[in-house]
Symmetry: C2
Subunit: 246 residues, 2 copies
């Protein structure tokens, strides 16, 4: 496996930041010094730094240096709080707070996209989809309901077994499918009668609804998800960087 140099540098710097070698408010070594340290060109160091910046750990300041603005990784920022995050899975986020995640399947079926489903999910009409509804639990308390639609041709062999363990793990590691882009929307909605039953909430309450379309590295959409979270468990973190001159 040919390691990618800028990725090595990124991981190395990130580890130093998380470990506290570069505390919040300090500057990283200059790009020139880093390029000497890693025996590479300055552009390669800059690529690694841009990854750190996208993750919200550092901010480059012209004329001064690269400032560390955050030392903890996404997923466990607010201690004790479960976080719905970038592209990490339910299990990953759960383990980050020390809770035991379990899942229970409510539906598992194959459907073909009709006009309505195509509109809702973003898939073309007439595709075969694997439809999956799960209840997510943390330490046996139901906290979310997920409704997944997978493009069956992209995610073959999905069954009630491997779906219960870790969908994310199955998709990325078992199938080797790379999640490249994810378009996501967050809204609030009141629970329907099934939500009330599955999550043990009142019909006048609200749920956080996260819908997302997921694309693989070839640009094919292979998943549509609608996840509904109970209010107390829902935390979403985000770091936005202002683009230069849009």
């Amino acid at each position: 496996m040919a390691r990618i140099l800028y990725s090595e540098i990124y991981r190395s710097l990130r580890e130093r930041i998380v470990e506290g070698k570069h505390p919040v408010g300090s500057l990283l070594p200059s790009e020139q010094n880093l390029s000497k340290e890693f025996s590479c060109s300055r552009m390669t160091v800059r690529k690694a730094i841009s990854l750190l910046a996208n993750e919200g750990l550092v901010q480059s300041i012209k004329g001064k240096g690269v400032l560390v603005i955050e030392t903890s990784l996404a997923g466990a920022r607010k201690e004790g709080a479960f976080t719905v995050n970038d592209l990490s899975s339910f299990s990953e986020s759960a383990h980050a707070i020390g809770a035991i995640p379990t899942s229970k399947i409510v539906y598992f079926e194959h459907v073909s996209t009709n006009k309505y489903l195509a509109q809702l999910t973003g898939f073309p009409e007439g595709e075969d989809l694997t439809h999956l509804k799960l209840v997510r639990m943390l330490d046996d308390k139901p906290v979310a309901v997920d409704r997944h639609y997978f493009l069956t041709s992209s995610v073959p062999g999905l069954n009630e077994q491997n779906a219960t363990l870790s969908l994310f793990h199955y998709i990325e590691d078992e199938l080797g499918l790379t999640i490249a882009v994810s378009k996501r929307t967050i809204t609030l909605a009141q629970p329907d009668t099934e939500d009330c039953r599955l999550l043990d909430v009142d019909s006048s309450s609200y749920l956080a609804v996260v819908t997302s379309q997921t694309f693989d590295s070839t640009g094919t959409q292979f998943e549509y998800v609608e996840a509904r979270y109970i209010p107390s468990i829902f935390h979403f973190h985000d770091t936005a960087t202002r683009t230069p001159l849009p």
Copy 2:
């Protein structure tokens, strides 16, 4: 003003995409052809394309080309829906859906950060802050309550006048302060009694709570905001790109 080349290319390509010259599912011209068209190096074209990718408009696919996956800009993706978005302002988002935004000031005062406030907002202790509470309305219907804390030394001259018009406009255009990085968290919470009164909602309902810390180009935090939105109006969009090998 020395125009930045990659930014010109970015704007040019974005305009073509929005106008429909490159529909969803099509490929952009190859990087080599674009570098000929704009008389620049391939790296400069790639920088422009990476901006488009960060915005969620395109996805690069090795060996094939740059695929267009979205043709509309953030802020008006779901037609008729107000969206809380990246780093755009309340007024911008409102205009995008044709509603008239107004604001009413509830509080306007200066405070010094005590221990509790420092913990909450992320500012150091003993700083002078401008504390501002606003009700946001769309077509005269109250939809959100904003609580802002500004670092007074960074945002001097803020008064009840210019705060009512457009905070964002005042900060970026009048003061010349550049918003560089924004750390944001979304949660759900039940309204307090003042929220109920200001927003005309029931105390058993829920609000979407967006808290954010905003940093300028020198890495100084100059704002902390807690915005509470009524459920029906809250839409948040996001495009996440999977980093390579974290």
